[in-house]
Symmetry: D2
Subunit: 347 residues, 4 copies
């Protein structure tokens, strides 16, 4: 019973096969193969517009390069204090940008409050260069708390961004999980709601290693080939990423996998809610559940072979002494049997 | 007839299969799986000593992070003017190090002359901080000219490094091709000859995406986990690299593939030597041939479907008007039939 | 009546004269003159130990280079949210360090709470490299709120630093103002209380341009000559800084100037306390007063020619509608007459 | 007899006095005083057009920030191998730009050959991002070899720059020395010949610390306030630089000082030419002479109290065994008596 992270899963068989099937033959390197081109077209189809697409090695790279592409001297990026760019990237955004600053903006359950965002940006004035200047807003969809920004919420943030002339970045490491929750189109959840640049993740949802930067205005993508290469993120055998995305998108596999992952978390949450011993820290909407339990229960579950991790950003739930919050993540590879086995354990 | 680059090949079937076979099941992320550990042990076995190993996304990343690990303020790295770090990485070493300088040191056929290296390093004095200070020497094995440093040559460079207290880095993007040419052990071609840190490449020799930084003194590797993560080079599903290396090393596959690639270049060179119309620009030792031909011949070959590229760093060969140098690269995927077909074309 | 900032004052006549007197004659450049050496010795005398001293152009440079000297990959520096390094340096610390992060730690009146500091540092674990790692703590003495850390307070912070193996930096842009308030020795207010590296400011206290980095363990200063030169902070005619410091230290001028500046703020505060219309936002201890007044009063004072600025970091005082906090700064150049003239205005 | 460097001189009395005279009174900080504004206007008058002016601490800062202002990802700056930016700035340009590369272009006596420059730039193609891309050309006027670019020479380089869409930077640490040699206007020697951005130096020609970045198209200067502040180069008491420049420009003092310095080198050269024991390595045009002498003569002169330094970039002169090249620099502070005393010594 592995709930440690969706990146503990391997690759989906269809994606692994696609990769194997592309093993043979020669193809231009560095993103110039026909397969690379075809997958770029798939992105355009999915997003219903011309976009510029750049494969990179990791979600951290997608985020850090996205912010580098829009950074300016003295640049400040506003993001939630629990965002991956702040909490989990060892300073990669600051490093890639050559020293931009991430300024936290709060809001319940890892979602930025648009009013607070507006207030935070207003603190910076062109008359006072000493403080630096806004260069981006970054939101995470789905968030690190397993919640999802609704379309109105994104649009409200997008509006604040446009009013201040600041581009909006979306960290979509779990883009698919949020998308199927909202039941909207990729276009609606991104550029139609004001997103300018997107980190599009495939790795957590069934790929081995498939991440992409999507720039919705291709005119603004002219520097990215240099930014990516300079950051050592241009794969020579780029088609090994393309092949994964190709299978990922085929017949809507990516959506099916995300739906499955989300439903496994729902099933898990249902077990938790009927158990007397555990409770949900808050209601989540994607493929992560945050569960409150006592140390005794935690040890019991660990001894029974359940793998999961404590969650430190727990300002969002009230805890009794001896209780703590734990994160449970489900993925395309989680099975209903596994969940029900866990349900029995906690019944 | 594809001779554009060894990175136009796909993956060797055994490596692709190993990757597919590891698709299922869960495993700790970020390099902590059993498979990651087993492959690290393979590196120790191969190099006959304790080493620290770090998988990264690209050869450029391996080089740039290796140099970052040893850089100092005002740092200068000495390398051949034709080295990949200078010619082909879009400034990644300078970017990752935050501004180190690459100072070219010459020598015939892309190999650094140890005497010139010594002279170049001596120009820097602790009394004159304005010039900066030596922080590394980087050699490429096999070189960008298809040549190979002999063990004595590496040792001579290693001696200069030690005399000046400067670490020696080896860019081993084609480590295997050089190794089988020399017929020595990996230990002999690296740390026993004075190499401190190695970019060990698998991608050009049959992997999809398998590069590693090998630090021969693990005590000096303590910062690398942070350096790598900060540079967005830590794969979450790291085992997809480990699985490739596992198959790569199994039963000496890597050596067989390199031997094959080298022998294909030898076969190609033999065809060139007997043809009246082409000639070798210089004798090579690994899996690249540099061929002089007229523009007419070039066009003829291109029209016949031969894919190859011009070579700009051609200071090493005398050319007649209307002649130029072209690079032909063979790989694990090149076949004798393909070579012989080319031989017929130029006969 | 100029209370905008202590950097609106010019230079003290004795310092200006010393500079003029050193105009003639030749002297080795780049900090190698006898005068430079003599002033370095003065620093050793003042701090009662061997120290390494490096002149730089600005306080921002002193801070940014100090943090660069101790930074590591993934490095995090803890400092108060109102500190100059966060609020007023346009990201220079992040830029110079190549992307370190400044993490705010709160405490009343711009002084870090040692318990919160300990808690903040403890969040970082060597087992979780994704979050980065502590590399420094930086405190401002006197603070941006005009308060002063007591010796016990500094020692408590120093103790937390040592327990976690993290160096302690002091931004001493107003070192002298704090020192004369505490009435202790420079050694007591710095290394004897656990400070490892100090930005020692002279500019705000009567110099034109005299800032120095003081490293209390000279063995840890070996990289600083390169760091400083690489950051374009090594003056060729370095003695123009040395001459200023020479006069600054002569006969305790620096202490007299700081005492004067502080006493002018006290005199100003006394006037405020007896006026019915203004009040102190909080009690200060150095050369800055923070004054609450209505918009009407503000406009009246401005019209009367009083120059002062609003203060945004006003979480520390309760305000009525139509009120705001304003910062008044006095300096060596402020006169009692000017203060009393202001006193009459507000009576 | 001090010929070590023009930065061994102090400040000209008129400049020192102007600084002292500005000691009293208050003025807005950070470059906003009336004096700052007046001096900016002086720059506009001198250059006969609107310009943006930014004072900085050192010539290295002026150069490094100028190049940072025009840098791009993968950026390459072309400059002479003997240029100050390459030889004497400890990697500051690379550091400030976050890793741009300086690519040497040769030409006799430290002057870039326009044809070689064109050839060097042409090697970079938008089709091959791996090599990086041109971002600037930087020339030094007067050069490190004491020579001066003629107007036609600058214009020829400017033409190459425009053809390739690359901005032209001039390192004018010795701008005045070159200007009076050519006898042209500042406008002619800069923007009228194609220079886009200028490091304008006052320090070597009689100021204590007065360097400025001059951007000839103010529309392109919008980021510079942030770039400068982020680089810790914004002086709070900025008027101490302004006061120096004010006196420097008053009544053409700067031109007189440069004429004097140049004439002192001419006088020195005349003595050398009639002495039997020394000879000029090459003919110079500004305030530096490069002199060939034997080790014996060198020791003799040193013992007689003459201060001067060896010159390493001596590829430009033929030397006999036991001979070497030495640099002699004169300044505004050098006297004819001192030169003639030296003349007697070598007679």
């Amino acid at each position: 019973m592995i709930f440690a992270s969706d990146n503990w899963a391997g690759a989906h068989p269809a994606i692994a096969s696609a990769l194997s099937d592309n093993t043979h033959g020669f193809a231009p390197a560095y993103g110039n193969s026909l397969l690379d081109r075809r997958v770029e077209q798939r992105f355009r189809d999915i997003f219903e517009r011309d976009v510029a697409v750049f494969f990179v090695a990791t979600g951290t790279a997608a985020n850090a390069l996205s912010l580098t592409a829009v950074n300016k001297a003295g640049g400040v990026c506003f993001t939630h204090s629990e965002a991956h760019v702040i909490a989990d990237e060892c300073g990669a955004p600051e490093y890639f940008t050559g020293g931009a600053r991430l300024v936290p903006v709060e809001g319940p359950l890892s979602r930025i409050d648009p009013a607070r965002l507006d207030e935070a940006i207003r603190r910076y004035s062109a008359d006072f260069i000493h403080a630096g200047r806004p260069m981006a807003v970054s939101i995470t969809q789905a968030t690190e708390s397993g919640t999802v920004y609704g379309l109105d919420h994104i649009a409200a943030i997008g509006k604040v961004c446009r009013e201040h002339g600041v581009p909006l970045h979306m960290d979509g490491a779990r883009f698919a999980n949020a998308l199927v929750r909202l039941g909207c189109s990729p276009a609606e959840m991104s550029w139609r709601s004001g997103v300018d640049i997107l980190s599009f993740g495939g790795t957590k949802n069934g790929c081995w290693c498939a991440e992409a930067i999507v720039i919705f205005d291709p005119d603004k993508a002219r520097d990215m080939p240099y930014l990516r290469k300079r950051a050592a993120q241009l794969f020579s055998k780029s088609r090994f990423v393309a092949a994964q995305f190709d299978a990922y998108f085929e017949n809507g596999l990516w959506l099916s996998l995300a739906r499955h992952a989300n439903s496994m978390t729902e099933r898990l949450a249902a077990h938790v809610e009927v158990s007397g011993r555990l409770r949900l820290a808050w209601k989540t909407e994607a493929n992560e559940a945050f569960i409150v339990m006592s140390d005794t229960t935690r040890d019991e579950l660990k001894n029974a072979g359940v793998v999961f991790n404590p969650w430190h950003a727990g300002a969002n739930a009230a805890l009794a002494p001896g209780e703590a919050i734990y994160r449970f993540v489900t993925s395309f590879a989680t099975t209903a049997e596994e969940i029900d086995q866990f349900g029995k354990l906690i019944a």
